[in-house]
Amino acid sequence: MLSIRNLSKTFSSAGEPVHVLRGVDLDLKAGERVALTGESGSGKSTLLHLIAGLDAADGGTILLEDTEVTELSDAGRAGLRRDRIGLVFQQFNLIPSLSVADNLAFQARIAGRHDPAWSRELIERLGLGSLLKRYPEQLSGGQQQRVAIGRALATKPSLLLADEPTGNLDEATADDVLALTRDLVARTGCGFLMVTHSLHLAATLDRHLILHAGRIA
């Protein structure tokens, strides 16, 4: 479902080139759950951003199902994110001026794929039923991340990308949130690629990859 070949990315820092990714190869099947770990600055988040089309690669290919992501325009990449990718961030990135209900439905609505039945199921499974009228600032970190996961899965994406989704949560809450995510990923059958620092959490997924020196070790 996801096939990455020879992906490279270089940043410039204080005038010096920093080679973050030096030919990454990665394959992910539909329904597969993969953890990606690595040292700080190893390029984990960058890899996720390139897959999501949030940034452009310098070389290599990213094939998501039948779409070559690196060849898409900005609008094409936006469409890809809207329709086929769910994104979850460490900082939750909810829209502060929208209620929980609106945040949950937001991506599905702009994708034109709002499914009320699926939405109700998500709310129930994520335990957000009593929080729908609240605003993000009125929620705890764990609650906010559950909303972010619900928003990402509301479109039933092909691929769920999570960038340290539990980084701001305590251990128990992190376990709960990840357990919920695993269940929902299994329910939708989408691929799941999660960046994490936690070896404990990485171990709970199907496969564990380590990014080192710009390559998958």
Binding site: H49, A52, L54, D55, D74, A75, A78, G79, L80, R81, R82, D83, I85, L87, F89, N93, L94, I95, P96, S97, L98, D102, F106, Q107, R109, I110, A111, G112, Y135, E137, G141, R151
Partner: protein, 820 residues
């Protein structure tokens, strides 16, 4: 489409959670649109009135034939021209008094009147017979009917005793004009078979050359695109426009501040929208649509407010224009569709300009850009340098305009460049002041005070610029008005030499009054004056006859004189010239002016220049006896009397009783002076109102900036609270900081305002009105304005500071809990 609507709904949700910010944005746009549109409405109303006046049965909008050096010519020339195929129509014009009210009388010949006389009112076929058949009609505007205190259908007498034909209202007619058949006008004005001008219609063929029919007795005058009134009043309207524009820009400062903060706060939202799959183009398009929709709503509200502002100011503006230029403006506001469209357009354009930097930033924002609130402030230093360089360039432009500019527009250009430059350089000056404060501070809290003030400066600078501009304009205009006021009152003391003024209804009554006064022991001197009209170098000039009396020699306000000027005046071959006419004709003491008079050209040596404030016409002061010799038709109806103060009431009462004169015909010096000062004050009432509006809008700009900044201030204030500084003390420090920068700004506004005043007095007034006033500084007034500005700043700072003082500790704790 649905996707765009969802994005729009998300963007709009921000305003639901930030109501104050939303109100700020709307207030800014509404204030900007309202003040600009209000001023434009007034200008449009006035210009329509000039247009009507110009086009009234063939004003300067129509080509015409006039006599080169006499006011009227024989009607026989009209007959000759018609016979030769010229499509001409006669008009006779003069002034008459009706119920003590002086009005312009126009006699027309409706059958031959050209059809294409601008937007002049038209007489339909059904009205025509009523107009020409006895008893005829006197066409009158509704406003004039009210001024004359008459009813439609009445036939009031004029001062000579003759009766006007019945009054008939013609709605489109310009105020202060009565229109009658030319035969009636010739009788009423006692000018049988005389015509003032011939209006020229569209010829059917090619008529014989003019000279072959009337020789050089008539000359053709082509229609003017701009009337004399428009030319005279241009400066007044330019002045109003400048005020409107200033208020508009101050309003845009508010919009810029509100939109800037909203964009900063919405950067994470925009990033999330993009991450969720809304394309950059979609988000940017919706951002622009949102702005346009808000501008549209605010524009409509602003237009409604502008209408009310214009309606409220119009009576004062009309009084100013009547007092300064003799222009008649109807008191009821009538607006064209263009005004509404232009108002909406300016609101949308203003909103886009004010939001341009934020929009460009949003458009250029990479999707992965980290949302750093107020990151734009970090680039402050580079901006300060760029802004200061721009300010220097603008000051250079001001200097160039000052040196090379000759027009009124150049004068306003100097003013605009001066103020823009000052506004641009203000943040740099404040930065230097605050840096000096920081370097000299010793205690840690004091150091933080100065350092934090510097950090806050970038967020406040736009509001402070608005305050600087508004205050400088207030200082400048107030200084100019106060200078004018004092000069004017001093000048009035000199000009109003007599103790009692009498205006007879005609020459016969004038003779009777003079004979009666000679018999009275309480009258120390009778000073008979007179006025005549002439054309000098194509300009209308008033000739003022002065009696030869010691009182005039002592008090008449001369600016420049030749030796023994008053003695030279007596034989009748010398004149004083008004300051504005001397500038217009470029005439100095020692020059000679030729005045066309009925008996031939009258050569006058200029032996003095005098101030003649408030008179739109150029004036020459000559000996009254000489004036009557050269202009025998001069009405001898004006009489000044020297009377002991205690005898004035008795004499006035006796005049009332003896000659049935009313208050308009007899007045003592104090009454005339009080009336002149009342007119003067009313003239500047508009200026004062616009001054107050501008300062008010600047106060709102400061309030909105402080309110929008208050939220982002918590991370700076929370650590101080954590180390033991109480919330009330923090609030007091915040208040002191705001007042300090406001005080610095106000103090900088004072010299800038004085420069503005100098520009107004030495450049704009001279170009616009033709007179130059002595420059005075009024320290008490300056102190008062600085106090008002500080009070406005205090009011603006109180709300956010009060919020801080009452803030719950949990809100401050959140700063450290990373839950904000």
């Amino acid at each position: 489409m649905r996707r765009a609507l969802w994005v729009l709904a998300v963007l709009l949700s921000h305003w639901r959670r930030h109501k104050m910010q939303f109100a700020t944005l709307l207030i800014g746009l509404i204030a900007a649109t309202a003040l600009w549109s209000g001023v434009q409405a007034i200008n449009q109303q006035a210009r329509n009135a000039y247009d009507r006046a110009a086009a009234t049965f063939g004003g300067v909008r129509t080509a015409m034939l006039v006599a080169p050096d006499t006011a009227t010519f024989p009607q026989e020339l009209f007959v000759r021209l018609r016979r030769a195929g010229w499509p001409v129509s006669p008009v006779l014009e003069g002034r008459i008094q009706v119920n003590g009210h002086s009005v312009r009388l126009l006699g027309i010949e409706p059958i031959t009147l050209p059809a294409d006389v601008g937007n002049a009112p038209r007489l339909g076929a059904s009205d025509l017979s009523g107009f020409v058949a006895p008893p005829g009609q006197t066409l009158v505007a509704q406003e004039t009917l009210a001024d004359l205190q008459e009813q439609e259908g009445a036939a009031p007498p004029i001062s000579s005793g003759a009766k006007l034909p019945p009054l008939h209202v013609l709605p489109q007619l310009v105020p202060d004009v009565l229109v009658v058949d030319i035969g009636v006008a010739q009788r009423l004005l006692n000018k049988p078979d005389q015509v003032s001008r011939l209006l020229i219609g569209k010829p059917k063929g090619k008529p014989a050359p003019l000279a072959s029919i009337v020789g050089d007795r008539l000359q053709r005058v082509e229609p003017n695109a701009e009337t004399e009134l428009e030319r005279l009043t241009d400066s007044f309207h330019l002045n109003l426009t400048a005020f409107g524009l200033l208020s508009f820009f101050v309003g845009l400062f508010i919009v810029n501040s509100a939109v800037g903060l909203a964009f900063e706060q919405r950067l994470p939202m925009l990033r999330t929208l993009r991450a969720c799959g809304a394309s950059a183009r979609l988000v940017n398009t919706v951002l622009v649509i949102e702005l346009v929709v808000l501008a549209l709503i605010a524009g409509l509200i602003g237009l409604a407010c502008g209408y009310f502002i214009a309606a409220a100011l119009l009576p004062d503006v009309a009084a100013s224009l009547r007092g300064l230029y003799g222009a008649q403006i109807p008191g009821q506001l009538a607006l064209r569709p263009e005004w509404w469209l232009a108002g909406i357009g300016i609101s949308i354009a203003g909103a886009i300009v004010a939001a341009a930097t934020s929009l460009i930033k949003a458009i250029r924002m990479p999707v992965l850009a980290t949302a750093q609130p107020r990151a734009w402030q970090q680039r402050q230093r580079r901006w300060l340098i760029l802004q200061s360089l721009a300010a220097c360039a603008v000051f250079a432009v001001a200097l160039l305009l000052l040196h090379y500019g000759v027009s009124l527009i150049a004068g306003f250009g100097v003013l605009a460049a001066l103020m823009l430059g000052a506004a641009l350089i203000l943040p740099a000056l404040l930065e230097i002041l605050l840096l000096v404060g920081q370097r000299t501070a010793r205690k840690p809290l004091a150091q933080w005070f100065w350092a934090d003030s510097r950090q806050q400066l970038s967020g406040l600078s736009l509001a402070l610029m608005a305050l600087l501009l508004a205050l400088a304009v207030n200082v400048g205009v107030s200084t100019m008005v106060e200078t004018f006021s004092r000069t004017f009152i001093g000048w009035l003391d000199g000009r109003l030499a007599a103790d009692v003024y009498v205006s007879a209804s005609d020459n016969a009554q004038g003779v009777a009054i003079r004979n009666w006064l000679k018999e009275r022991s309480d009258v120390q001197a009778i000073l008979s004056g007179g006025r005549a009209e002439a054309q000098v170098e194509g300009q209308p000039v008033e000739l003022l006859g002065l009696p030869d009396h010691a009182l005039y020699r002592e008090r008449w306000p001369l600016l420049e004189t030749a030796p023994r000027a008053w003695t030279q005046l007596v034989p009748g071959n010398a004149a004083f010239i008004s300051e504005q006419l001397s500038r217009r004709l470029n005439v100095r003491v020692g020059d000679v002016i030729e005045v066309p008079a009925p008996g031939g050209t009258w050569e006058l040596d200029i032996v003095g220049i005098y101030a003649d404030y408030g008179n739109p016409k150029g004036q020459l002061a000559v000996n009254v006896a000489a004036l009557i010799r050269h202009f025998p038709q001069t009405p001898q109806t004006r009489i000044g009397l020297i009377v002991a103060k205690e005898n004035i009431p008795g004499l006035i009462a006796a005049l009332h009783k003896q000659f049935a004169l009313d208050d308009r015909s007899v007045a003592d010096q104090a009454t005339v002076k009080a009336e002149s000062i009342r007119i003067f004050n009313r003239t500047f009432a508009v200026t004062s109102a616009l001054n107050a509006f501008t300062l008010g809008v600047a106060g709102i700009a400061l309030l909105t900036s402080l309110l929008t900044l208050a939220n982002s201030r918590l991370p700076q204030l929370a650590p101080l609270w954590a180390i033991g500084i109480t919330r009330p003390r923090l609030a007091a420090i915040e208040l002191t900081k705001t007042l300090s920068v406001a005080l610095f700004t106000s103090l900088l506004a004072v010299p800038l305002g004085l420069l503005v005043a100098w520009c107004l007095i030495a450049i704009v007034n001279v170009k616009a009105f033709g007179w130059r006033l002595p420059f005075h500084v009024f320290p008490l007034q300056l102190a008062e304005l600085v106090a008002v500005a500080l009070f406005a700043s205090l009011l603006a700072a109180l709300l956010p500071v009060a919020r801080l003082a009452r803030m719950q500790p949990t809100n401050l704790v959140k700063v450290f809990a990373d839950e904000r």
